[in-house]
């Protein structure tokens, strides 16, 4: 397989396969989790302003009082790399073209110099988060193979994409193919690892908000 064949494969059958596993995986995992259901709460509810599942879905995006000071790297690093990923994935013109091709939906992108910067900042934040995971006793203690692995499969698409755009290391065609391959690996892995929090986070916040709203506590 030469580089062009490699690119053709990752753009064609490879992409179809990855997207297929991703979609089926997401649907299956969501079913597996939420079909477990929960018991109805028979205690008399108490109502309070600002207490509901939906409130908590939004409120938990902001650090609770005192927490930012206790763990600044987690919060600031976390914000930067999540927002950075969103910018790079959703606002880079070639990505928008691909999405338009797949779904018909389209929106304006950002200038490529800005995306460049966002990618570098995202990678820097991710490296800081990795160092924090190694250095901080609690994070190191909690970390399993999955934590290092998911960091790598999230980092590689950003790195390979940036390197490809900069025309560094390998010929552009090969680098682009590697970039697409790394995204496909990410898609396949996502439903079956902690990366699935991208989906369950909404359910978790909602349950927490809902269960405590029953007691009149806005959490």
């Amino acid at each position: 397989m030469n580089e062009l064949q490699f690119l053709t494969w990752v753009r064609g059958p490879g992409l179809d396969l990855a997207v297929g596993i991703f979609l089926l995986g997401v649907v299956w995992r969501l079913f597996e989790i939420y079909s477990l259901g929960r018991k109805k709460d028979l205690s008399a509810p108490r109502h309070a302003a600002g207490a509901s599942g939906l409130h908590t879905v939004f409120r938990r995006s902001v650090p609770p009082p005192g927490m930012l000071k206790r763990s600044p790297v987690s919060y600031i690093g976390g914000y930067i790399f999540h927002i950075g990923l969103a910018i790079v994935v959703l606002l880079f013109a070639p990505h928008i073209l691909l999405i338009a091709h797949l779904t018909g939906l389209s929106w304006p992108g950002l200038p490529s110099q800005f995306i460049d910067l966002a990618a570098v900042v995202t990678m820097a934040a991710m490296v800081v988060m990795l160092v924090d995971r190694i250095n901080k006793p609690v994070k190191r203690f909690l970390s399993t193979f999955e934590d290092w692995f998911t960091w790598a499969v999230t980092f590689l698409p950003v790195l390979t994409g940036w390197v490809a755009v900069q025309h560094l290391l390998l010929p552009y065609t090969t680098m682009l193919a590697l970039h697409i391959l790394s995204v496909e690996i990410l898609l396949v892995v996502l439903p079956f690892t902690k990366l699935f929090h991208a989906f369950t986070l909404f359910g978790s916040r909602w349950y927490n908000g809902k269960v405590n709203a029953h007691k009149g506590v806005p959490v």
Partner: protein
């Protein structure tokens, strides 16, 4: 019923529901829950990270309820949960967790970690891995009627004592009274002033109330140990008593877990909604205050602060009432850092104070309270939970801090004028 590992695992499988599945799948190992837990912040030991306290439950979830987990189990790639492991986890699930719920309040992905600890304890208890201290308290509550072995004659002796000292009759088994007042053993033995305080407050408000001879003990160690069957036995006594006496409202005493057991878990334990209301005494006082039925005179002039019981604020939603009540009788009321919704636990909730072997750790964790107290340097601490009160007193004594701890209900009652009786 003997406790076995098989039974424990079966119970764990039963308690796992969609919220728990969602929570385990959302955890990204960020470790922020550790920063919210006083057992971690004061010891610096990562094993006290709240989400880690649930590791055996997580494995049962993965192995039983996920496709990949079942595959891994089939080909022998996953470890089964063992007795030795659960034994090791006892310290993490009981001694170093007071069910205070701060972890649930900070988790960025929204995991209600304390909800899971409460459920995990069901399996720990069923597999025989609950600490002896709480087991004893549960057994005494089920067989004798109270965790400290208090029987009706002790309550009657106290009723007589209050009647003689204050000249206020204490009704027992008065059918049709508006309120049925519950006590905690701690109050019957250590803080008899509570009953007198309630009597004075009720007399001023002009409300009918009663104690119940078959249900005077409000605490429920079944909840703390994590045994819903026993918790149900204990709560059923109260339900039967309240329905027999046809009261409108049952008042939970100054005890955090009694309130949680009765107010939030009770109906779910017996499997039907209550026919009466349940209110914490502080909620009732708050209502009396709002309705103008609570009239006080004079003020405390020394510097007072209020320690929020976890089960009352974070787990119970009673946040503003104690502050309004404090301001009614205190001129110099100061708040500690993190007071209110995010207040730090006394370190002895959730049954932890009944665990003898956990005392050293408890006193270590108390450094958090010490810090809060050192910041505002109060002359006295006011609280609304008899267990907090005992644990605070022990901690303050250990650190040689001369700060008395008082109950809010009693303090309010002291300002109720005797005239107009």
């Amino acid at each position: 019923m003997t406790a076995t590992l098989e039974k424990g695992i079966r119970v764990l499988k039963e308690v796992i529901d969609a919220p728990i599945a969602s929570y385990f799948n959302s955890c990204v190992h960020c470790g922020l829950c550790a920063e919210a837990c006083l057992f971690y912040t004061e010891t610096g030991d990562p094993k006290y990270t709240p989400i880690h306290k649930l590791e055996p439950l997580r494995r049962v979830y993965e192995q039983e309820y996920t496709l990949l987990g079942r595959l891994k189990k089939m080909v022998g790639l996953s470890r089964a949960v063992t007795d030795d492991e659960l034994d090791e986890w006892q310290e993490l699930v009981y001694n170093s967790c007071t069910l205070c719920g701060r972890c649930s309040a900070v988790c960025p992905v929204g995991n209600d970690i304390v909800y899971m600890v409460r459920k995990f304890r069901e399996g720990m208890s069923a597999s025989g891995h609950a600490p002896a201290g709480i087991k004893g308290a549960v057994n005494r509550t089920v067989t004798i009627g109270s965790p400290m072995g208090v029987k009706l004659p002790a309550v009657q002796a106290q009723m007589k004592h209050v009647e003689e000292d204050y000249g206020i009759p204490i009704p027992l088994d008065a059918e049709g009274a508006e309120y049925m007042v519950m006590l905690s053993s701690m109050e019957i033995i250590n803080f008899p002033e509570y009953l007198a305080a309630v009597a004075k407050i009720m007399r001023q408000a002009g409300k009918t109330w009663t104690l119940c001879s078959t249900a005077f003990e409000a605490t429920n160690a079944g909840i703390q140990i994590g045994n819903s069957d026993l918790a149900k036995v204990i709560v059923s006594r109260i339900v039967e008593g309240a329905e027999k006496l046809k009261v409108k409202t049952v008042i939970s005493p100054e005890c955090g877990h009694a309130y949680t057991a009765l107010r939030w878990e009770g109906a779910n334990l017996i499997g039907r909604p209550f026919t009466f209301n349940v209110k914490h005494i502080i909620e009732v006082l708050g209502e009396f205050q709002a309705q103008g039925l609570l009239k006080t005179e004079g003020f405390e002039t020394d510097k007072l602060t209020f320690h929020d019981p976890c089960q009352l604020v974070r787990r119970g939603g009673v946040i503003q009432q104690p502050r309004k009540l404090m301001n009614m009788v205190a001129k110099n009321f100061v708040e500690m850092p993190d007071a209110g919704y995010m207040n730090w636990c006394c370190g002895g909730g959730g049954g932890a104070s009944a665990i003898e072997e956990g005392e050293e750790l408890r006193l270590e964790a108390f450094k958090k309270k010490k810090f809060q107290f050192d910041t505002v340097k109060p002359d006295r601490v006011v609280t609304a939970c008899a267990n907090c009160r005992i644990v605070l007193e022990e901690g303050l004594e250990h650190y040689q801090m001369d700060i008395p701890v008082v109950g809010l209900t009693e303090m309010i009652a002291e300002h109720i004028p005797d005239k107009g009786a």
